[in-house]
């Protein structure tokens, strides 16, 4: 595979290229932009990049509390903000399985109350409440 380039010249070329790459990587401003983006200088956390401001730790805590059974159902109770609801459904599907979401609190055994105007929706009563974050609760419920 190696051609007629003398070894010293080849090594010199590689060293020069490496130096150039490092220089570009640490250059200020737009020059380092492509490498900065690709190498992601400011590393992300292990959580999803949510669209709405979701407390990832609270979601993980709630997921750890929910029973590990496919018969378990939960309802998401939050503010009437579409993006927040959308992201909480996605977070639930990611972290709460095998528990499955239901569209009505009356069908739910658990409620994730996320920054909601009231702790619980109408029609259910709290049996046990776990605080998993700031104004974020996972509540085992019974029908009221």
């Amino acid at each position: 595979m190696f051609g007629p380039l003398p070894l010293r010249v080849r090594l010199g070329l590689v060293a020069l290229l490496a130096l150039l790459t490092v220089a570009v990587a640490f250059a200020p401003g737009r020059l380092s932009g492509p490498i900065r983006r690709l190498a992601n200088y400011r590393a992300d956390t292990r959580d999803p990049i949510y669209n709405a401001p979701i407390d990832g730790r609270a979601i993980r805590r709630a997921g750890a509390i929910l029973p590990d059974s496919r018969g378990v159902t939960y309802y998401i109770h939050t503010r009437p903000v579409p993006q927040l609801g959308h992201d909480l459904i996605g977070a639930g599907l990611l972290f709460f399985l095998p528990a499955v979401p239901v569209p009505s609190p009356r069908e739910a055994q658990w409620v994730l109350s996320y920054d909601a105007p009231t702790l619980l929706p109408k029609g259910v009563r709290a049996e046990k409440t776990y605080r998993v974050g700031e104004r974020i609760y996972l509540i085992r419920v019974r029908q009221g």
């Binding site: 992300d44 609801g85 959308h86 459904i89």
Partner: protein, 475 residues
């Protein structure tokens, strides 16, 4: 295991399975030859294991670590036994060293560029969570569901009862895009199982491994057939396209689809040009995987195979085995299609709309939008570097010189891919939304496919100019 160790361990196991499956073609070869097939082996294993698991999912089996272990072991055993029974010739060529110093310098610079970009992709992958919400909203949750509850129709079948109102917007509680196949979801869930927790950075780590495997596989398959001073710079042009790299950290399935589709068509051409049974065998695996990645995979495969068939009409006797192999690849997705049909999971794309003149006439605004938006992405040098202009320019030069339509195949992948997605968007009831949200990804498979043929075009052109040419590939 932790993030890096988990993803590395999974990919090492997948590559090991891939090597076992390649055993009939590599038996008795040197360690160096084995090493040169690492990219092919990784993509074989990463393609086959989740593919077989996705074929088993409709039975209700939980697709977790035990199922993975059994399937991986069975595939490896089948490969090793097959290697004892019959032999395929991988025909690994050696590259002819560059003839001149300038050519050698070009090869050295390009090789450095490829290693540097892939190194940054790998490091960056493990430092970044996917920027596209589809990844955590449905791709990975589907994999988790297959593992924890199995293929449960409650989560896949559209059900108007399962709607929730947030403000003025309805959200569904079943998986959106339930029609998409299961391969990517299964692979992502395996990554999480090996990591030991849900760590979204593992998604981009996996994509980085697939990118490395792709470049390694493309280089191996073209090694010795395309001179290094063309092969490596052309692969660097493809690999370093800004949009390709950006999407490799998006977490969606378009990059895996592009990778497997491009390799499948490259192998199809390998079969037609060389009558290599090894290429045909690789084609089956890569094509079956492309079909199992996304719903549009099967349509894109058929379209691109049709283009290849027209371009290679002179070799029409070889087309029958190729289409037979394509049928075998499609057959691997029959269990999924049957399950979908039995559970009312229809495609978001309606063939009835697509073929209805009255429907299409009522939605001409989507036609205009599709032509413009998809065209902008397809022709953007800022997004895709020089891949598209080079594929068209080299094809035209070759056509003028040799008057053979085969030169236009890469340009046809682009052109017909463009028309295909304009048509799909036109017939899609949610086309307006999807054009804005996803058009930049629609063009990824045709562009990567055209890009993988840049080395082939360049080599044929140069060979025509210089005769057999000094520094040309081994024959």
């Amino acid at each position: 295991m932790g993030l890096v160790a988990g993803v590395v361990a999974l990919n090492a196991l997948l590559a090991a399975v891939g090597y076992c499956v390649l055993y009939p073609a590599l038996r008795g070869r040197s360690a160096l030859t084995y090493a040169s097939y690492a990219g092919v082996a990784l993509l074989m294993g990463a393609g086959l294991v989740p593919l077989v698991l996705s074929m088993l999912a409709p039975t209700g089996l939980h697709i977790g670590l035990p199922a993975f272990a059994v399937v991986a072991a069975v595939l490896a055993a089948v490969g090793l036994v097959a290697g004892r029974v019959f032999r395929l010739d991988a025909d690994p060529r050696r590259a002819v060293p560059p003839a001149g110093r300038l050519e050698d310098a070009v090869v050295t610079v390009a090789a450095f560029g490829i290693v540097a970009v892939l190194g940054i992709v790998l490091v960056g992958g493990f430092r970044s969570s996917p920027w596209l919400d589809d990844t955590w909203y449905f791709w990975l949750p589907k994999g988790r569901a297959l593992d924890l509850v199995g293929l449960d129709p409650r989560l896949w079948s559209p059900n108007p009862h399962l709607h929730v109102l947030f403000g003025n917007d309805y959200e569904s509680l079943w998986f959106i895009r339930p029609d998409n196949p299961l391969w990517w979801s299964i692979l992502l869930n395996l990554d999480m199982r090996f990591v030991g927790s849900i760590d979204m950075r593992a998604v981009n780590g996996e994509l980085a491994f697939l990118m490395i495997g792709f470049v390694g596989a493309a280089a191996r398959l073209l090694w010795g057939r395309v001179r290094l001073s063309i092969l490596l710079p052309a692969l660097l042009v493809l690999l370093s396209a800004p949009e390709f790299l950006r999407q490799a950290q998006g977490g969606d399935a378009d990059v895996p689809l592009a990778i497997y589709l491009a390799l499948a068509i490259l192998c199809a051409v390998g079969w037609l040009a060389l009558r290599s049974r090894f290429a045909l065998a690789l084609f089956v695996v890569f094509a079956a995987t492309a079909i199992a990645v996304k719903s549009e995979g099967v349509l894109e495969l058929v379209l691109d195979l049709a283009i290849v068939s027209v371009a290679a009409w002179r070799a029409r006797r070889a087309l029958l085995p190729l289409w037979g192999a394509a049928a075998a690849a499609v057959a691997t997705s029959v269990p999924w299609y049957a399950w979908r049909s039995a559970n009312g999971v229809s495609n978001v794309f309606s063939l009835r709309n697509a073929l209805s003149p009255s429907y299409l006439r009522q939605h001409t605004n989507l036609l205009h939008g599709g032509l413009r938006i998809l065209g902008d992405h397809l022709t953007s040098i800022r997004e895709w570097s020089l891949i598209v202009p080079l594929a068209i320019a080299l094809g035209l030069v070759g056509l003028v010189r040799e008057r053979r339509i085969a030169w236009l195949a890469p340009a046809a992948f682009l052109g017909f891919g463009y028309v295909f997605f304009v048509w799909i968007s036109w017939a899609d009831p949610e086309g307006a939304f999807r054009l804005v949200a996803s058009a930049y990804r629609y063009v990824t498979p045709p562009i990567v496919l055209a890009g993988i043929f840049l080395p082939v075009l360049g080599e044929r052109l140069l060979r025509g100019i210089s005769g057999s040419g000094s520094g040309g590939p081994a024959r």
